[in-house]
């Protein structure tokens, strides 16, 4: 009887791997093929017949952590949220005769423009399964006149509605009589103007402006060049409140020729004392515009005023201003409590011309960047949402408000609250040339007698033998470091061995007395954010159309600076500059000086021991200074005279 051949294996042995294979394939299939329902979106959706029992649903307690599913927002390289727009669909219900009754929705041009902007933006995705935010196809803006009850009905039946979670609904105006909004938004976020403080859900809703359709006001006059001495103040009453009339007249009487009160006449024309005026021109001729924004901030006048460069004086009340989440309106206009309206002229006079100028220019910049088109309003709204979802990559206050970066935020040394402790300093001796070994030894002998010296590091950049030997009976710790390559920027490597706050960069061909070195260290302690040195070179930039500028560079062959700059040199100096220094083997001191200057806006300190040297580089030669200044942008070089003398 033949034994069963060992080659015929039982079924289960092959069955198990095949089973696993099938499982794997089915997982992959499910994951990558079936779940993308991109192609399929219903052209018609059936809704329940509308009935009398309509309940307005808006979850007041919704916040980002309770009504927003952050898991839907996948992280990507540029950290942009994925925004999906519903395709246009028809909605119908079955009436008693079993006929289809279609709901009719208008789409205004404004809303179409909004959707178009979003669709062409980098946020848009066409696949709803990847969507982080959902935008409606149904127009919820006021000029579409869509019935809110029908709109609410349709929303409930959208395929991805899910009670409105992760949806964003745009609204240009809130309803006047009831609390906002008249559409049942349930748990959706709302982007609307005029939200009152107690209606606005912080971190969830977004306050947008009332778009002012700038084409209405188009003039050939430039807002920044117009003559604004005609009026000091234009008062624009936006609410019809007779109690104010008296107060406003009182104000006007204080300076009748320079204050005027605008009013409405027939249609949309504006009048001054029943005479028509050109609204656009009059805004160009005044410095300040007082906006008596009413209970609901519901008109585009705020943006009109900004666009024409008239500094808005707005009533500081309990409604959200446009993009208040990120914009500081105190930089744009003057907030005024109603109780102080009678004192407005005194206040405006105290503010002064310079500050007016700042606010005037700022309004124009902000209007142009965030409010000048529906496209910008829509995309700014999405940017604000973006920063809620990905907060670590959020833009700073200064960038949102187009301010210059405050260096104190960027350079910690400018915020040093306490004097630097007297903990001593570390010397980094850069041994680059094939100098006499004796000069190095004598230098170290001198250094040994400096009281505040903590440690000596020798960075030996030269090819060949390294220094060694006795440097004295008792000496401070000495370490020898030999970098792998022979780059000049090795002198500024972020060495772990430097444990003091103060670093002295020294080249081995320098001669200094111990008293001079100690004085230099103590001087540095008073100005730890600057570079303090013994040798300066004057570089002259001969420029074509402006006066020549002279720049003092403290040579790093003998200079004190903070360890922080040593640590960030490689990460904060533009790579092109480092490459230049290593290629041409010069100008490393210029690089360090420019780094420190860009982070402090302060000049370096020269210790006056009469060791000044003059080098003149003209603009025509490709001097490193000219090249570096262009790479280190922005750089404001100012002239300053400052030196320290030992007394």
């Amino acid at each position: 009887m033949k034994k069963e051949s060992t080659n015929s294996l039982p079924v289960s042995t092959y069955g198990i791997p095949i089973l696993f294979l099938l499982l794997t394939i089915s997982f992959l299939w499910y994951n990558y093929v079936i779940t993308t329902e991109t192609e399929y979106f219903p052209t018609e959706i059936m809704v329940n017949p509308p009935n009398m029992n309509f309940k307005l649903l808006q979850t007041k307690s919704c916040r980002f952590d309770t009504c927003f599913e952050i898991n839907k927002c996948e992280f990507n390289q540029e950290s942009l949220i994925q925004v999906y727009i519903y395709p246009p669909t028809d909605f119908y219900y079955m009436n008693n005769n079993n006929n289809k009754v279609y709901l009719h929705f208008n789409t205004s041009l404004a809303y179409r423009s909004l959707l178009n902007s979003i669709q062409q933006s980098p946020f848009y995705v066409s696949d709803p399964s990847r969507a982080c935010i959902f935008i409606l196809a149904i127009d919820t803006l006021i000029d579409s006149d869509n019935d809110p009850i029908y709109t609410s009905l349709a929303l409930k039946h959208l395929p991805f509605w899910n009670r409105g979670i992760n949806h964003l609904i745009f609204s240009f105006l809130p309803s006047i009589s009831n609390s906002l909004p008249s559409v049942s938004t349930d748990r959706a976020g709302v982007a609307s103007p005029g939200l009152l403080y107690h209606e606005y859900r912080t971190g969830f809703d977004i306050s947008i402006p009332v778009y002012n359709f700038p084409e209405r006001l188009a003039t050939r006059k430039s807002p920044s060049l117009s003559n604004r001495d005609i009026y000091l103040l234009i008062i624009i009453p936006l609410e019809f409140d007779t109690s104010l009339e008296y107060t406003l007249q009182q104000i006007k009487n204080q300076d009748p020729s320079r204050i005027t009160i605008l009013d409405f006449c027939q249609g949309d024309d504006r009048c001054v004392e029943d005479e028509n005026v050109n609204y656009s021109h009059i805004l160009l001729s005044s410095k300040y515009c007082l906006l008596l924004l009413g209970y609901r901030y519901s008109t585009p006048d705020l943006l009109d005023v900004m666009m024409q460069g008239c500094v808005p004086v707005y009533i500081h009340a309990d409604y959200m201003l446009p993009f208040e989440e990120v914009l500081d309106w105190r930089l744009i206009g003057v907030p005024l409590r109603p109780a102080f309206v009678p004192q407005i002229l005194t206040i405006l006079k105290r503010i002064g011309d310079e500050e007016w100028n700042q606010k005037h220019r700022h309004s124009l910049k902000i209007w142009s960047r965030y409010f000048s088109s529906l496209n910008r309003i829509a995309l700014t709204t999405l940017m604000i949402l973006n920063e809620r979802v990905f907060p670590t990559l959020a833009t700073s206050f200064e960038d949102w408000n187009l301010l210059e970066t405050d260096l104190r935020r960027v350079n910690p040394l400018l915020m040093h609250p306490i004097p630097v402790a007297d903990a001593g300093f570390t010397v980094v001796i850069f041994s680059n040339n094939n100098n006499n070994k004796n000069s190095l030894n004598s230098l170290i002998r001198v250094l040994n007698t400096v009281p505040s010296l903590n440690k000596i590091l020798i960075v030996s950049n030269k090819r060949g033998t390294s220094p060694s030997g006795n440097w004295g009976v008792k000496h401070v710790p000495i370490e020898l470091l030999i970098p792998e390559d022979h780059k000049l920027t090795n002198v500024f490597l972020p060495l772990e061995q430097i444990q003091t706050e103060c670093v002295m960069s020294l080249y081995d061909d320098v001669t200094l007395t111990p008293e001079e070195i100690e004085f230099g260290y103590q001087a540095w302690r008073e100005f730890p954010e600057r570079i303090v040195g013994y040798y300066a070179t004057i570089h002259t930039l001969e420029q074509v159309n402006t006066t020549n500028s002279e720049i003092n560079i403290i040579s790093t062959k003998a200079a004190f600076y903070h360890n922080h700059y040593q640590k960030i040199f490689t990460s904060h100096v533009p790579p092109a500059v480092i490459e230049w220094v290593d290629t041409f083997h010069t100008c490393e001191d210029v690089a360090m000086n420019l780094l420190i200057n860009s982070l402090t806006n302060k000049p370096p300190l020269l210790l006056n021991f009469n060791r000044c040297q003059e080098f003149r580089y003209s603009y025509k030669e490709d001097s490193c200074l000219k090249v570096f200044i262009e790479l280190f942008e922005p750089l404001e070089l100012q002239s300053a005279k400052f030196h320290l003398e030992e007394v």
């Binding site: 952590d65 936006l238 949309d268 309990d318 409590r337 935020r409 004097p419 990460s571 860009s598």
Partner: protein, 491 residues
């Protein structure tokens, strides 16, 4: 033997591959991304917003449509409806505050003490500091704001500091006027087990008073009206500043400290606010992230212990609280029963950057302080992203945040007097908003308290006021000599 191996080799390989694949599939959503910056740039970062906003749209609106839409927007004859004042949630500075009292300047009136009322040491300090303020007035008819003599700090009925039968006591104050222009301080409200943050949980009739409250929830905060306060420790000093750790220990450097992130505190295991701290052990690695919790709280803690308690309680004593704080770059500040915690101010004082895990918490003085400059706020649901987030903070940023933490602590929180001054200056900026201080004045040295805007806006624009700050520097020269030097220079 060989054939046996061959028989089992194939299924084993398949199993191994499938297991590997399954593990990858399961853990992919949790994959954390470390963001490393190589070249950080000097000052300017690329303008991300500008790049996106400059994307132009192809659909333009013509003038006719614009005009038609604009006509719809004009509603000049709207009725001016004021907010419903009876609902305290809608209180704001225009409806629940009488500005006309403040037209001639800011002043505070402190009621005479009522001897029968129980006052905690902390509230006594608050009363004393306000009484010594430059804004004090003894004339209640001209005062802008009022400070009640009754201690409302602890309104938790289960607390020993709670005063019973107190609910309507404030309304009996002679100038109460339904609470308008009054300041009511509160640190603890709500009680076991719900620890509600709603305004009614104060068990206090406060009318239209401004609440200066700790543990403020976004859902119940009256924006622009209430002030979010930190939780002050009971032994808070009156006027001497508690120095920041940097000043005492001089430990600004090295930048990277022994521990990256640390926490040591109670864990409630169940009930309100327990979710955040229960999950901490998942990211504790006993190396650079040290998060210690103990289940021991109160008398009957063992009734609610879970399976992690025994180990947690044992490990708890291995590290010392202050030692952890001093040697950590970041300090975790998760919510407890209430949204705020003492730990927030403690981290600031220690120069340890607070990482706040407290959803809907309104940070102290957030109207004026930009906390993004010194603290990190992470959604409680994103606990597992905390290590990645703190790793992505560069050394330079860490240093800047550490210094900012010390600056904010010393300027606004380092003594009762600083705390009260900050509150009074915030109120001033709210009332006199036309002359309010800027973002940079609040968030950078020397801080907003030293900037008195009345002197900034004078009538003659050609003169200026020079404010000279004289600090002790390294040389140790006498203060009087330095003043002489300054005076001589300007003569």
């Amino acid at each position: 033997m060989k054939t046996k191996i061959r028989i089992f080799a194939v299924p084993i390989i398949f199993t191994f591959l499938t297991v590997v694949w399954l593990l990858w599939y399961i853990f992919t959503p949790l994959r954390v991304v470390y963001v490393h910056n190589t070249y950080e740039g000097v000052v300017k970062k690329p303008d991300r917003i500008g790049t996106i906003l400059d994307h132009s749209s192809s659909l333009e609106i013509n003038e006719i449509t614009a005009k038609q839409t604009y006509l719809k927007l004009l509603l000049p004859n709207q009725v001016h409806i004021h907010g419903n004042d009876d609902n305290s949630q809608e209180c704001n500075m225009n409806t629940c505050f009488n500005m006309s009292r403040c037209l001639n300047g800011f002043s505070v009136y402190v009621y005479k003490p009522v001897f029968s009322a129980k006052i905690s040491p902390l509230y006594a300090k608050i009363l004393k500091v306000v009484s010594e303020s430059q804004y004090l007035t003894t004339d209640p008819t001209t005062a802008c704001v009022f400070l009640p003599p009754y201690d409302t700090l602890d309104r938790d009925p289960l607390s020993t500091d709670y005063s019973h039968g107190f609910r309507y006591t404030l309304t009996s104050l002679p100038f109460w006027n339904n609470g308008m222009n009054h300041l009511v301080f509160n640190f603890f409200s709500g009680t076991f087990p719900t620890y509600s943050h709603s305004l009614s949980s104060l068990n206090l009739e406060f009318g239209r008073a401004i609440l200066i409250k700790a543990s403020v929830s976004d859902n119940f905060n009256r924006r622009g009206f209430d002030i979010s306060s930190p939780l002050l420790p009971k032994d808070f000093k009156l006027t001497d500043r508690h120095p920041g750790a940097l000043r005492v220990l001089n430990n600004l450097y090295p930048v990277q400290r022994k521990y990256l992130l640390s926490f040591k505190g109670k864990r409630y295991v169940w009930g309100v606010g327990s979710v955040a701290r229960n999950a901490l052990s998942n990211i504790h690695n006993n190396r650079d992230i040290v998060l210690l919790t103990t289940c021991i709280h109160g008398a009957n803690w063992y009734k609610y212990e879970d399976r992690l308690c025994e180990n947690d309680n044992n490990v708890y004593t291995e590290y010392e609280f202050v030692d952890l704080m001093i040697n950590s770059s970041f300090c975790l500040v998760p919510r407890g029963r209430r949204l705020g915690s003492f730990r927030f101010l403690e981290s600031l004082q220690f120069g340890c950057i607070p990482v706040s895990l407290s959803n809907s918490y309104v940070m102290p003085f957030s109207d004026v302080i930009d906390w993004k400059l010194t603290a990190i706020n992470i959604d409680e649901r994103n606990l597992f992203q905390v290590p990645a987030e703190i790793h992505s903070v560069s050394a330079n940023q860490l240093l800047a945040m550490r210094l900012q933490a010390q600056f904010i602590w010393e300027t606004y929180f380092s003594s009762t007097r600083k705390y009260i001054s900050t509150i009074l200056e915030i109120l001033k900026d709210r009332i006199y908003s036309h002359f309010s201080r800027s973002y940079h004045q609040w968030n950078f040295p020397p801080g907003a308290i030293f900037n008195q805007m009345e002197y900034v806006y004078k009538n003659n624009n050609n003169l200026f006021t020079a404010v000279v700050n004289i600090y002790e520097t390294v040389t140790g020269a006498k203060l009087s000599e330095k003043v002489k030097l300054v005076v001589n220079t300007f003569e």
